[in-house]
């Protein structure tokens, strides 16, 4: 019963790299002089922080797609909901410093001539409550949505399409001013988080480090989940759903549990993303965003967790580079990436690396042992 140890080689590599970035980025930003070749300029810190949040989002998609075969094309919605929960906290922190200087109401409500804070804004001035909502709002939505979908056995592309419809409907809803969340301008002009200025260099570094820690925590959590017997059931559902049912597993409960967990991870990613980019608006719900997340996972390697992180970082770095150098070509590049990865690299970058690795290992072993098959287990 070789339960994989939580700290296998891959985990150790991922955690070391994350730890290194959590130390190096602040050091290169804060301790080097601006002329130094190693210096990381101030605007790069939140940019890297943004990538890390995307990596956490990709991780959450990989957990359900890679291990349970559920392709959600609406995970951007959970990310955005987490972001809005955080955004509401940050709005409440502005207090009387807004343009209209209302002690309670955010600027956009004053602008719309609202007299009172809508009921769902209450409590968001208290950080622990907001933090709880970051988890609960996406989690509960995923739970309700999943409960309907999985119980009626909506699977495969049907599920994907209705998740698209879900995020599309939410986008339309959040665009409305009546929704009470800032309409198409969203929530912005944040001032402070937990008493620290969101603009301050030290806050930005702290947010970056927090994001890295969240990613590491998310990675360990996913690793633990997929390494448990629960994780084996997930893979069983992915590969032979009805067989799993006939073994007596209630597939719906498993899907529901992992879907809600994944939505909460996405919510955390969104919550960390908002203070670093300084705005959250309904375009985060755009269906195209959610599809893009899937390609990050596919590029890195589906069902590997580390691949999701790698893919998110690679694709987003590519996006930043393209939009700076060849803006018209970014969509060509992204589109081609979708086609190329699905056609030629279905196991992603990490899968390709592993194949190479195993291939060379097998050669080595074949030379050592006359009966390679009996050893193939390892």
């Amino acid at each position: 019963m070789r339960t994989q140890s939580l700290f296998d080689r891959q985990t150790i590599i991922v955690l070391s790299l994350l730890a290194a970035s959590a130390i190096l980025v602040p050091a290169m930003n804060g301790l080097t002089s601006p002329e130094s070749a190693l210096h990381l300029s101030d605007h790069l810190v939140p940019l890297l922080g943004k990538y890390v949040c995307f990596a956490l989002l990709a991780l959450s998609v990989d957990l359900i797609w890679g291990f349970c075969g559920i392709l959600s094309l609406g995970h951007g919605a959970f990310f955005a909901l987490g972001g809005y929960a955080m955004g509401m906290y940050l709005m409440r922190q502005i207090g009387p410093r807004g343009a209209y200087a209302d002690p309670v109401l955010p600027d956009f409500m004053v602008f719309l001539n609202w007299k009172e804070l809508p009921w769902f804004w209450h409590g968001f001035d208290w950080f622990p409550f907001a933090a709880l909502m970051v988890l609960l709002v996406p989690g509960v939505l995923a739970f309700i949505f999943g409960w309907f979908a999985f119980r009626s056995r909506v699977t495969g592309v049907y599920f994907s399409i209705i998740t698209q419809a879900m995020t599309f409907a939410l986008m339309l809803a959040f665009f409305r001013n009546d929704m009470g969340l800032g309409g198409n301008n969203g929530l912005t002009d944040f001032k402070e988080i937990l008493g620290f200025s969101v603009q301050a260099k030290s806050t930005r570094i702290a947010l970056f480090v927090l994001s890295v820690l969240a990613l590491a925590g998310g990675y360990l959590l996913c690793r633990w989940v997929v390494g448990s017997k629960f994780g084996k059931v997930l893979v069983a559902v992915r590969d032979a759903e009805s067989r799993t049912r006939f073994l007596g597993y209630c597939v719906e409960h498993y899907k529901l549990a992992v879907f809600a967990l994944s939505a909460m991870l996405a919510g955390v990613a969104g919550a960390l993303y908002v203070p670093q980019v300084g705005i959250i608006n309904p375009s985060e719900f755009a269906p195209a965003n959610s599809i893009e997340v899937v390609i990050w996972v596919a590029v890195g390697g589906r069902g590997t967790l580390a691949g999701a992180i790698l893919g998110a970082l690679l694709v987003n770095a590519g996006k930043t580079w393209f939009t700076a150098v060849l803006p018209e070509f970014w969509l060509f590049a992204l589109g081609s990436l979708f086609v190329f990865v699905t056609l030629f690299m279905s196991r992603g970058v990490l899968g390709a690396v592993r194949d190479l690795w195993e291939h060379s290992n097998q050669k080595v072993r074949a030379r050592r042992s006359p009966q390679p098959i009996s050893h193939a287990a390892e």
Binding site: K232, A236, R243, T244, L247
Partner: protein, 250 residues
């Protein structure tokens, strides 16, 4: 309900299923006793697989009764609940979890708590390990323990699936064409295994291979167009004129 309505383990009465006007089962009635082995034969489209679907909750019948142990109404339960009651199923084409190791396949099948929380926090108990050792021995896959199930031969997959079925510790096993794609030696072996199992559990075997059915030497039910055509020993059934008609045509 003081006394059980029926002493039989599985009781199907007047079960009908139709798909878009096509009647896959037509007022089928069947009863299987505890620790009985029953072979089901019949030409293609006779309703053998649909019958299994009804018993395991995959298909809901349009009408009719399906009782298990005299009290459980199988038509109102889903697959997982029925499996928990102790009905195990082996599919026609072997379906095992190809990405999992042989050992993990058995581990997933072992009779244990099936809920998400239970599996999330369960360690692997020593007694589970012993059970798996025994099962591996029985289905002759000890040497393949750490291989991925997807790498096994067709026959080995059949055996692994039977092993998974045993791991569930069911009271009733439904086995769809176990001999398909096996060598003669493997077929004989499988028949031995099934007879052995049937000593303590009820077994329903669907099979085309008459040699295999003869080897089992059990009561045979012949289905045709969704209902029972004949029932009895294999010799009696194969002597039945209508069965001959159905099999030979005209």
């Amino acid at each position: 309900m003081s006394a059980p309505i029926t002493p039989t383990l599985l009781y199907l009465d007047n079960v009908s299923v139709s798909f878009d006007g096509f009647r896959a089962l037509n007022a089928l009635s069947l009863a299987v006793d505890h620790a009985e082995m029953r072979a089901i034969i019949g030409p293609n489209g006779a309703g053998k697989t649909t019958m299994m679907d009804v018993i395991t909750g995959k298909t809901k019948p349009n009408e009719g009764t399906a009782l298990y142990e005299g009290t459980h109404d199988l038509t109102s339960l889903d697959e997982a609940a029925i499996a928990e009651l102790g009905i195990g199923r082996k599919f026609q084409t072997p379906t095992v979890f190809e990405m999992h190791t042989v050992e993990d396949n058995l581990l997933l099948a072992l009779k244990n708590k099936r809920g998400p929380l239970a599996t999330l926090f369960s360690g692997i108990a020593a007694q589970g390990r012993e059970r798996i050792d025994v099962l591996l021995e029985r289905v002759r896959l000890t040497a393949q323990r750490h291989r991925r199930a997807g790498e096994l031969s067709h026959g080995q997959k059949q055996w692994l699936e039977i092993g998974m079925l045993l791991a569930q510790e069911p009271k009733l096993l439904l086995i769809d064409e176990p001999a398909a794609g096996m060598t003669d030696y493997e077929t004989a072996d499988t028949a031995d295994l099934l007879r052995d199992i049937a000593r303590s559990k009820a077994v329903i075997v669907v099979e085309h291979d008459m040699t295999f059915v003869r080897e089992l030497g059990v009561k045979v039910t012949c289905l045709h167009e969704g209902s029972v055509l004949a029932e009895g020993s294999l010799d009696a059934v194969s002597a039945n004129e209508r069965v001959v008609e159905v099999y030979l045509g005209r």
